[in-house]
């Protein structure tokens, strides 16, 4: 979401721009959900529930605990996979940015992985790692890691040469150049990569749950489709999309807060 870009800073008081943004956001939700409700009532397909029915199913599934159980099992491979991709991805990316040798050996792997249609690799993962948690964690990793690695790598490689030269001119050691110039300069881009990686991790975990063994949200989607409970199936899909969107956009808010404090105060 780029709504932040449209907020004029320090003009017309803090209240007006915020409320107009909120109005537009609300209007777009009303428009989309209204169209959904309308299409469901026509109906465009017997397998397409209305927005209202979907929300009712979502509510009911939350109450009976099936939604909660599903998230508990989906979040496991997601969090483990993201943690691994985040820590090792950033380390690998930074190392690639700093060392040409490391770049030479490691970069091609991630460039290929980023371009590859990963769904095609999932049967291979199942073949090697079976159908348990490991396979799902790996599915999350191969989706999330490339973008995290490549963003960190580019961020480090593109750190301001003029600031690096400045640090050298004031007798900064190599370690000081890295710690005091390169990493702070690269951190906003690294964080942006992390955000994209998390979004990719969601894709990975859902793919794994649909293609490897149905568990968690993947199980809810597959099961309700098989018994033609379309409202429940849509509720599961809606909830995971909303969950991913909210997670990623709150991360963006956090990013603005941490790296661009001046923007927030304006």
């Amino acid at each position: 979401m780029t709504t932040r870009d449209f907020e004029p800073v320090g003009r017309g008081g803090p209240f007006r721009p915020l409320s107009s943004t909120a109005v537009w956001r609300l209007a777009s939700f009303v428009l989309v959900f209204g169209a959904w409700e309308f299409a469901g009532r026509v109906p465009i397909s017997p397998a397409f529930p209305t927005f209202g029915a979907t929300m009712a199913a979502l509510f009911q599934m939350t109450l009976d605990g099936s939604m909660g159980r599903a998230y508990l099992s989906t979040l496991q491979p997601l969090l483990i996979g993201l943690l691994i991709s985040g820590v090792f991805g950033i380390l690998a990316g930074v190392a690639m940015g700093l060392s040409r040798l490391f770049e030479f050996f490691v970069a091609p792997v991630f460039i290929v992985l980023q371009a590859a249609p990963v769904a095609a690799l999932i049967p291979l993962i199942t073949f090697i790692y079976g159908i348990g948690l490991t396979a799902k964690v790996i599915a999350v990793c191969i989706l999330a890691a490339p973008v995290i690695v490549l963003n960190s790598y580019k961020a480090v490689r593109n750190a301001s040469p003029s600031l690096i030269e400045m640090c050298r001119a004031f007798q900064g050691s190599r370690v000081q150049v890295i710690a005091k110039i390169i990493l702070p300069d690269a951190s906003p881009l690294i964080f942006a990569g992390l955000r994209l990686g998390i979004a990719a991790g969601f894709i990975g975990v859902v793919l794994a749950e649909l293609l490897i063994t149905p568990t968690g949200i993947g199980d809810l989607i597959t099961y309700h489709r098989s018994v033609a409970d379309y409202a429940e199936m849509y509720a599961a899909i809606f909830s995971i999309v909303a969950f991913a969107a909210i997670t990623v956009s709150s991360l963006q808010k956090l990013e603005t807060m941490v790296f661009r404090p001046e923007k927030k105060e304006g």
Partner: protein, 267 residues
Amino acid sequence: MSISGATDPVETATKPDGIVQARGISKTYDGGIQALEGIDLGFPKGELTTLLGPSGCGKTTLLKIIAGLLEPSAGTIIVNGRAVTGPGPERAFVFQDFALMPWASVLRNVAFGLELRGMSRHERHAIARSYIAKVGLAGFEERYPHELSGGMRQRVGLARALAVDAEVLLMDEPFSAVDEQTRRKFQEDLLHLIQSENKTFIFVTHSIEEAVYVSDQVVLLTPRPGAVSRVIRTGLDHGGSPEELRRNKRYLDMVEEIWQMLREYLV
């Protein structure tokens, strides 16, 4: 004309009290482009020497070689009697593009050279505050670079270079990214600073007026590959009022004369 008598490149080049000396400096870049050829120069202690020449003559290259940021292909730089092998504590650099850390406050930027030396926070902030005041930015300590105008940013760059208390200040076109009015004020302030700090300044510019206005000595470089064309001692009294200096006949004549010399290099 008034200049001819005061000019003797050989004499200045071998001046024994040159705190910074360039001996036979040549620089050829990897692509085979020769930027500098056989530069022999002396930079007298406590004076301001300007490197002046058409764009692409290697002025900045020479300055960065003196700073130890670039290696010469041939020749050595001697500072205080010792050969330069890299950046050193006796030299500080003021960058054309300011090179301020956008994530750091003015205070941290100014104290950065001292931070790199491992000085305690308390100590380095005290020093930084005094230089921030000296360059006229008192009250802006907690601001960030993006909140400052170009001229103010360069004052931060200058304060950072002063804070490390180097004997030699190397300034790479420090005013080129600053508007004309700010530039004039900045030049005047710089003259005050030179009087009060007793440091050696080496200054790169492509503005003839600026070179003559602030310098004790102007080095004219030829177009690529840069070589010393002439060394001119301005013999101007920089202690007087700026208005006087700008109307001084000697100042005006010298600007004109240097323009006539540089002119032959332009196609």
